[in-house]
């Protein structure tokens, strides 16, 4: 199965929509352990993304679309999720530069590039109570599923489930990165907002592919 450019645009639309729906929720999560702006920031960023994508020529390839999303997030989000998700989308775009459709292998590469980009930018690892706690298990589940010849929609479904488990796990651990790390152990008991928004994006990806 391949993912077409049109699918990519549908996935982005879905992410924009889901972030908007969860704007207050993400901000509430951030209010508990951070600076209460995650939902608002991401929503502003993805609104700008939606706007920006309408200005791209029809012939724009998927790599350029992803890099444009990254640059737009970097310049509009404001908080740490700007450079983090910005880097993720830019790196993802670089590995599929010039492509108008994505193979299953490309999708694994995109996840890998995005994950590595976030790790480098944030100097974080799994277990630090960050977006990595959702993305890394999702990447591993996706890769393993595809290696075992599981069809892409189901592989993405498993990735989304793994992301959800990873997100839920952040409730049990204390933050070692970002504003929440100032709280240390007092951050235990709260979901990480970044892990939550990352899960929502992966879930959006899976939902669009499973519904099409």
């Amino acid at each position: 199965m391949v993912i077409t450019k049109n699918d990519v645009l549908k996935i982005v639309d879905k992410i924009v929509e889901v972030i908007k729906e969860n704007k207050e929720y993400l901000t509430e999560l951030d209010a508990a352990i951070g600076d209460a702006d995650h939902g608002i920031n991401l929503d502003r960023g993805f609104d700008a993304v939606k706007q920006k994508l309408t200005t791209l020529p029809e012939t724009t390839d998927i790599g350029t679309i992803l890099r444009t999303i990254g640059m737009t997030l970097v310049s509009t989000v404001g908080g740490a999720s700007g450079p983090l998700y910005g880097t993720a989308f830019m790196r993802a775009g670089q590995v599929v530069q010039g492509k108008n459709e994505l193979s299953e292998e490309d999708i694994v590469k995109i996840f890998e590039a995005a994950l590595d980009g976030i790790k480098q930018r944030g100097k974080a690892e799994a277990g630090d109570k960050t977006m990595i706690d959702s993305i890394e298990p999702a990447y591993k589940a996706l890769k393993e599923s595809l290696e075992n010849n599981i069809a892409l929609p189901e592989a993405l479904n498993r990735a989304a489930n793994a992301a959800k488990e990873g997100m839920e796990y952040t409730k049990n651990i204390s933050a070692r990165k970002g504003r929440a790390s100032y709280l240390g152990e007092r951050s235990i008991g709260h979901l990480d907002p970044g892990a939550t928004s990352a899960y929502l994006m992966i879930k959006s990806f899976s939902d669009v592919v499973n519904l099409s």
Binding site: G82, P83, R179
Partner: protein, 136 residues
């Protein structure tokens, strides 16, 4: 005629526009406005936050060819500044660095050092030494 001396540029980055405007005012007063100082703070729509593309533009603006020292506050300011430096590409490699220094003290120390014509490494070093300054 006096030849105008080129100086190391300084860019101040904070989540808050007011913070960098205030430090800019303070540092400019101490250097008589001689040092090129750029400021990047807040988002384009007036929220608290940092913007890597704004930081990149400010670095370009204050660069006189002698290098640029970037001072940042917390959290995403560091990541946005790192990203800005990456976005600048090879042309600026090694010529722009983030000082591991407190924003206010570092900015003033770096600006004063730049104003006396010190080179990039020295300005960066002095900025970073500002973190060891005792208040009393």
């Amino acid at each position: 005629m006096m030849v105008e001396e080129k100086m190391v540029g300084i860019v101040l980055v904070s989540h808050s526009r007011k913070i960098v405007e205030g430090i800019y005012e303070l540092a400019s007063q101490m250097t008589g406005g001689k040092v090129p100082i750029g400021i990047a703070g807040g988002t384009q729509d007036g929220r608290l936050g940092t913007d890597a593309t704004e930081i990149m533009e400010e670095i370009k603006k204050v660069d006189e060819g002698e290098g640029v020292v970037v001072l940042v506050d917390i959290g995403s300011a560091v990541m946005s500044a790192q990203m800005a430096i990456e976005l600048l590409g090879e042309e600026y490699e090694g010529k722009v660095k983030i000082a591991d220094a407190p924003l206010v003290e570092g900015a003033i120390a770096a600006s004063v050092e730049a104003s006396i014509g010190s080179d990039f490494d020295k300005v960066l070093l002095v900025a970073e030494e500002a973190k060891k300054l005792n208040k009393f």
